[in-house]
Symmetry: C2
Subunit: 360 residues, 2 copies
């Protein structure tokens, strides 16, 4: 088992990465504050993992809340179901919430923990590749609004993150590929060496070779932790983690939550950001092709949905957390392995990318 540390003043916490550790009580118990434990999960994962986890927690007063599976359920209405359970069970401010699931469960569980009685403890047990390499680390929590993705939320850090690489065995291929989009993103924004390693190991990764997979997860988490350590509340460099996300969120919101997986939308968005970086003279056309090639090898889409034209894209992108006074600001690549801080882009240039990239 490997341990990484997220170092935040007064809110530091460990990330454990290992095989078959998701219900390891000796790891968990130091982070459970009292007898009261709520396990939040979804229908699919409850069948696979809930019983084993509940069994390990037999000395606690355990309740569970099982949500429907999918991004389209990440909203305030479904969030309220978590509060229903916490209150029906008379859970106190010293209760602990365990989020056992992918990005949706982690984001909602973290936000519910942030808000319930103005804050209870929570633990992340991410079960998808995307959640393991990205969303479970760093304390971004929240829900979607019909008009914008992740628009309602909180910065709220978990007490620990428990990454069990073995649970990925049950992950369906499409979800696995979606996770690889965020893995590749780390290479693109700040780690050329990792990007090159991914080029060399994508076949083994797609075959889910355990050692290669473990290394990819660890290197991703290390990148994520370093960025979060440097800028917890996204006043600067943390925004670079959003490469491809402004385009991606527009795709998710515009097409209806759940139609594209988050990672799929991010993959397309990364290509659009690369195209724009090329138009601005930062990347060469060969850089763009190289990025596309790696994403395609990860079985990810790279062209935007035909349903969204440039005008609609811009309308959707006008709602983004990086924008200032309504100006759209984007993360672009200076080169492969180095991102630029959020910058406004001339509308005409943005339209060129939106009208031309992947539109043949």
């Amino acid at each position: 088992m490997k341990t990484l540390q997220v170092e935040l003043e007064g809110r530091s916490y460990p990330i454990y990465i290992g095989e078959s550790i998701y219900c390891n009580l000796s790891l968990l118990k130091d982070f459970i504050q009292s007898k009261q434990v709520l396990i939040l999960t979804n229908e699919l994962l409850a069948d696979l993992y809930l019983d084993a986890l509940v069994k390990q927690l037999s000395e606690y007063q355990v309740a569970s809340c099982i949500l429907p599976d999918g991004e389209q359920f990440k909203n305030l209405t479904i969030l309220n179901q978590i509060f229903d359970v916490l209150l029906s069970e008379r859970f106190s401010r010293n209760a602990t919430l365990i989020a056992l699931g992918g990005g949706v469960i982690g984001d909602m569980g973290g936000f519910a923990a942030a808000c319930y009685q103005r804050g209870i403890s929570f633990i992340q047990i991410p079960t998808t590749l995307l959640a393991q390499v990205d969303s479970s680390v760093g304390g971004k929590t929240g829900v979607n609004h019909a008009l914008g993705k992740n628009m309602i939320g909180a910065f709220y850090q978990p007490k620990c993150v428990l990454i069990d690489t073995k649970v990925l065995a049950t992950l369906e291929d499409r979800q696995f590929s979606a996770g690889l989009a965020e893995v590749i993103k780390y290479g693109l924004i700040r780690d050329l060496e990792f990007f090159e390693w991914l080029e060399g190991n994508m076949d083994a990764l797609m075959a889910r070779n355990p050692d290669v997979l473990a290394e990819a997860i660890e290197r991703s988490c290390k990148n994520k932790a370093e960025v979060v350590n440097a800028d917890e509340f996204e006043s600067g460099v943390r925004a670079t983690l959003n490469l491809g996300h402004t385009f991606g969120h527009a795709i998710e919101t515009g097409m209806g939550y759940g139609k594209y997986l988050h990672g799929e939308a991010v993959a397309i968005g990364c290509c659009q950001a690369a195209d724009l970086s090329y138009r601005l003279g930062y990347l060469t056309d060969r850089d763009v092709e190289r990025i596309e090639r790696l994403l395609v090898r990860a079985n990810l889409p790279i062209t935007p949905p035909k349903e969204l034209d440039a005008e609609r894209f811009i309308e959707l992108m006008a709602v983004d957390k990086k924008n200032i006074d309504g100006d759209i600001r984007l993360i672009l690549l200076k080169k492969i392995g180095e991102a630029l801080l959020p910058m406004p882009v001339a509308r005409s240039l943005l339209e060129q990318t939106l009208n031309n990239y992947g539109r043949n």
Copy 2:
């Protein structure tokens, strides 16, 4: 104009107290982050004050969100209406929310500001006595859940609080009295001198004598600020501000939000807490009578609603943020002017108070 300061590391802010300052742009403008300003208010207050405030803010991009008036609308569903407006207006993370209203508007506005894009700036302009002396200061924000009051929320501090004593002229008597419950509470928990001053000045206060009223507000805010400065996140002494609130919240939830005003429920709760403090040997029967007398002079109710029996009270009180592992913990008085930290109370004794106090 008087200025008090809430001193919190990195989140300090001023409380301005004065006449006709609610739309004083020179005070406001230092705390507005960008061109985008949302004014949150309710139907009643919009008619009275919205136009004048909007006029002062003519150089900004101002939107307004007008909510229905009342505690029964302080919930997640209505909260979402605020996000609807923020998103429809394409408001960015550097937007500023001004909460112009009583406790409900302040609590919801603060919570919306805490959650929108994971946090935007907000300014409190409290328009009820209760909001001016209590809820606008200290950063407790949130909404109710059908099963418990203020159960969903955040600690989130405003950038400034602007208390205009003149707006109280339009406050109806019942609301004014409700505010006095929190004023009297400060005397009870930590300021005997203030309690005695209130005994000497209650008639002038009820007549809304401007000087007496201004002094009551200032002394209340000073007490509130001192407690919050000492314990922002309620790990200790801040809980004493909750004198009467566990009983009070049970009354509000049990009778249906909006039936009793918050201050009315707190007044009754203070009497129940005093009765329990008497049964535990802390207060004398004359202390209890003295407390009752002052509340009655403020035209506040002091007996619990007949509809709630002891069993139902206890059921409702089992959901409270001070509880630990489901044990009900209460704020009691050691004497008039000094509160005890939250403590568990034997159920038999609690039942004595619930069955006997005000039940004749």
